[in-house]
């Protein structure tokens, strides 16, 4: 009896621990030390309609280019504090209107501006044109960039990641300065969790897909 009880308890512990182990794919991608201290850090990510692998192959997500040049499926990025980050987002996804057009403004970047395929962007009307695929938003830093979408009528949309640059895409670049050390969550404000009420479930509600942390370290 005692043994049976011990086995039951052991099973529960194993199961609980197993299901709770932080399951963020890819771990934390470290950008500190990639450059000499104080030098701007280049951060390149791509975003697309379906990750294609893992437990949820149909979900939208991000890949980040590690300092070693590989595309990694991770949304937790370690960045140096008080440093300019030059961020490049290669946007392969089609889009929709924003639920709240407020997020169509570029805010928080250096100069409150970004560039889409080389053209300056400070505000984008998501109700017209191709709409917005995603936004890159760090609420605590006031950082918000609408990631302009590729036309949904396009015949050349990247199906699953990783996407080759031959597919239709928009390249959005902007720079921002990291604050002092801390964990800053970032997320997307386009309701892009398909198949969920308000489009905010699934990938929008699971870390590692449409949101993560900027781990800023001193």
């Amino acid at each position: 009896m005692l043994g049976l009880f011990a086995v039951a308890v052991g099973l529960v512990i194993t199961a609980v621990a197993g299901f709770l182990t932080p399951g963020v794919p890819g771990g934390i991608v470290n950008f500190t030390g990639a450059q000499p201290s104080g030098q701007p850090v280049n951060l390149t990510v791509q975003t697309f309609g379906a990750i294609g692998t893992g437990p949820h192959p149909t979900w939208v997500s991000y890949l980040v280019k590690s300092p070693q040049g590989q595309w990694v499926h991770s949304t937790d990025w370690e960045l140096p504090a008080n440093t300019v980050i030059n961020m490049t987002v290669i946007q392969y996804d089609s889009g929709s209107p924003l639920r709240n057009q407020q997020w169509g403004q570029v805010t928080g970047t250096i100069g409150n501006t970004a560039s889409v395929n080389g053209k300056a962007l400070s505000q984008y009307d998501s109700n017209s044109g191709n709409g917005v695929g995603h936004t890159f938003t760090v609420p605590a830093l006031g950082l918000d960039i609408p990631l302009v979408a590729v036309p949904s009528t396009s015949k050349n949309i990247c199906g699953t990641a990783p996407c080759a640059s031959s597919f239709d895409h928009n390249t959005i670049t902007f720079s921002f300065k990291t604050p002092g050390a801390g964990n800053y969550s970032w997320q997307c404000f386009v309701p892009c969790g398909l198949g969920y009420l308000f489009g905010n479930g699934g990938p929008m509600s699971t870390q590692g897909y449409m949101g993560g942390f900027l781990k800023v370290v001193a």
């Binding site: 009896m1 308890v9 699934g202």
Partner: protein, 652 residues
């Protein structure tokens, strides 16, 4: 025969002459050859596989399934058929199926040995013991999750868990504990003790009773299945439309609550009917042990409030599977609807978790104070009053929600009125202590602690019910601490008191009182050290269920976390004591170790299969501890000469 206090004249029954019922006498057979836990597990797995396949077959074309890659319908049907298979496998459906062809239920012969604890049994004592293990498993799992919560809150910015994992843990902890707490006393002690206390040989509906336990276990597995499904993000309150938005883990929550709800209704139904109909001759309502009163009040809440939860869960499941829109405002539903349904159940549920605790304490205190229970009628009236009022207060959970704002003063009044019957409870407790001769055994320590803790929980409840103060304390750590003080500080302490007090009766083995005292003091101290700082944390502005908080609150949070770990250690001490005293080094319990006058102690230990050799006749009021020469509570009839002839030979 009318129910009278007269002992019936003893007549020797010629037991060979069967009163022609359709009953079939079954001979005992080995427990492992018939249905038991193993067959239940196998049937549940098969049922799950079938249901999941069926769900995929039916719904794989749904838009939401195609685009999200997750199929709530398949998961719901899988779990539903899994539960069905489980009941089939354990044998819960044998009798209902036999009834279809007109067979009458006949109990199987009791199974000897350990295997009876893994079967669908009609013996309320076995069900009680099964429940002890069941709720401890629930408690242990929920406790592990609590440790995980406090680990994450050690640091405001560095995270051990991802935010979705953290919410998953919080939700799972809350839901498991709430489910467990509704049954923690009704299940083990209610089922075991009620027939013994009212002098009955049986429960009114033993199959419904067994059903309530096995569906309780099924509920545990269903709610546990939320973890592999990815958890659910709503906390134990499951607010829609977040509920509708969530992934398939939410199905486990909705179905789990519905399944546990079935168990709660079944348990409450059986206990209420038993107390109403099976009281021994002479046990008038004013002679009913106070624990049975508390069980009756609780059972009323269990049976009447829980259907509302089941209906709410059903609507939620329909929203998630066949895409109705009960809770989706944009499609003509209402997010307020769930809040109303949930709290209409939820507030009576709070008292489902408080009343059994009072019952236990009142039952135990007279034994250790050597005094009658002070103001017995006030105690019973207090419990019934709380039960009644609890149906009229649910909107105090919704003061800031914008639902019926002009009704707030009314709900503030009804909520504060509940303080009056709750005050009765304190009057009774303090009156019983007055000029007592207190013996500080472990159960008594837990009883005294309950009054200490519940007072804090109750007084902070008045703060919460006040609309102006509620603005600050609603939805924060203050309310979190408040309900931990009432549920854990009240109910769980009472449960511990009950276990230490009655385990000697249930198992025939004494709990070690030395370890017991260590367990009590560590639990009492670290419980208060864990949760008292949370009042301050809450007032300082920390909302519930957050993984980040203000940096200046780290000291208090860390203090609370470390105390929580020590509280966890105190529970390990309890488990160690349980293992040690029950299995490793058992000490045989005396027949009546606490000198109790309660009926349950008057029958033999271990309790004979049908509790009493003769149905006892109740002679007087309970709790006449302080009167020298008071008549015995009950006439058990085993001193009559007829006994030997009745039990001696069948053939007379």
């Amino acid at each position: 025969m009318t129910i009278s206090a007269e002992r019936p004249t003893e007549v020797v029954v010629p037991s060979a002459a069967p009163p022609s019922t359709g009953g079939i006498s079954r001979t005992p057979r080995s427990g492992w050859l018939s249905q038991h836990l193993g067959t239940a597990i196998i049937a549940a797995i098969l049922g799950y596989a079938f249901g999941h396949w069926l769900g995929n077959y039916v719904s794989s074309g749904y838009t939401y399934v195609v685009t999200s890659g997750q199929n709530s319908t398949a998961d719901a049907l899988g779990l539903l058929f899994g539960v069905f298979g489980w009941l089939l496998g354990i044998g819960a459906l044998n009798h209902p199926m036999a009834k279809l062809v007109g067979r009458e239920g006949v109990e199987d012969a009791p199974v000897e040995g350990w295997s009876k604890y893994f079967r669908y049994t009609l013996d309320h004592k076995v069900v009680g013991m099964q429940y002890v293990v069941g709720v401890l498993l629930f408690l242990f799992t929920g406790g592990l999750l609590a440790m995980a919560i406090r680990t994450e809150l050690l640091n405001p910015t560095t995270h051990v868990f991802a935010p979705d994992t953290y919410i998953k843990i919080v939700s799972e902890h809350g839901t498991m504990m709430m489910m467990m707490a509704t049954s923690i006393i009704v299940g083990p002690l209610g089922n075991y003790l009620v027939p013994l206390m009212i002098g009955s040989r049986r429960m009114a509906f033993p199959r419904i009773e067994a059903f309530s336990f096995w569906i309780f276990v099924a509920g545990y597995m269903v709610i546990f299945s939320a973890l592999p499904y990815g958890g659910f993000p709503t906390g134990w309150t499951g607010y829609a439309p977040l509920q509708t938005q969530a992934g398939p883990g939410m199905v486990s929550y909705l179905l789990g609550f519905a399944v546990i709800g079935l168990g709660m209704m079944a348990a409450g139904f059986n206990i209420a009917i038993t107390i109403i109909n099976y009281r021994a001759p002479g046990m008038t309502w004013s002679r009913l042990p106070i624990f049975a009163w508390s069980m009756l009040a609780t059972a009323a809440l269990l049976t009447l409030a829980t259907p509302v939860l089941v209906a709410g869960g059903l609507f939620g499941l329909l929203d998630k599977t066949v895409e109705t829109a009960f809770y989706v405002t944009e499609h003509g539903g209402s997010s307020y609807l769930w809040q109303n349904l949930f709290w209409f159940f939820g507030h009576p549920e709070v008292y489902i978790m408080a009343l059994p605790g009072f019952g236990i304490v009142f039952e135990i205190m007279p034994v250790f104070t050597r005094k009658p229970l002070f103001a017995y009628k006030v105690a019973a009236a207090g419990m019934v009053g709380v039960a009644l009022l609890s149906f009229f207060v649910w909107q105090h959970h919704l003061f800031q929600s914008g639902i019926n704002p002009d009704m707030r003063p009314l709900f503030m009044l009804t909520t504060e009125l509940i303080s009056i019957p709750t005050g009765f409870i304190f009057l009774v407790g303090m009156g019983t202590l007055y000029k007592a001769k207190i013996r500080y055994e472990v159960p008594m320590l837990f009883c005294m602690a309950l009054f200490f803790n519940f007072l804090i929980g109750g007084v902070t409840g008045v703060f919460l019910s006040d609309v102006p103060v509620n603005v600050t304390v609603h939805g924060g750590f203050f309310v979190l601490s408040h309900f931990h003080y009432t549920i854990m500080g009240g109910l769980l302490f009472a449960f511990m008191a009950g276990l230490y007090f009655w385990l000697p009766k249930m198992t025939g083995r004494m709990m070690n009182s030395r370890i017991g005292k260590w367990h009590f003091w560590t639990m009492f101290i670290f419980f208060n050290l864990t949760f008292f700082p949370m009042f301050i944390i809450g007032l300082a502005g920390q909302p519930r269920r957050v993984f980040t908080y203000a940096k200046n609150l780290q000291v208090l949070n860390d203090f609370s976390s470390i105390s929580a770990f020590l509280l966890g250690a105190s529970f390990l001490l309890f488990f160690a004591n349980l293992m040690w005293s029950m299995f490793i080094s058992p000490v045989k319990a005396p027949a009546n170790p606490w000198d109790s006058l309660g009926l349950e102690w008057q029958t033999a230990t271990p309790v004979p299969p049908y509790n009493f050799e003769r149905i006892p006749v109740i002679m007087t009021d309970p709790y006449r501890y302080s009167e020298v020469g008071a008549p015995a509570f009950a006439d058990l009839g085993d001193h009559t000469p007829a006994r030997s002839s009745a039990s001696g030979s069948d053939q007379t």
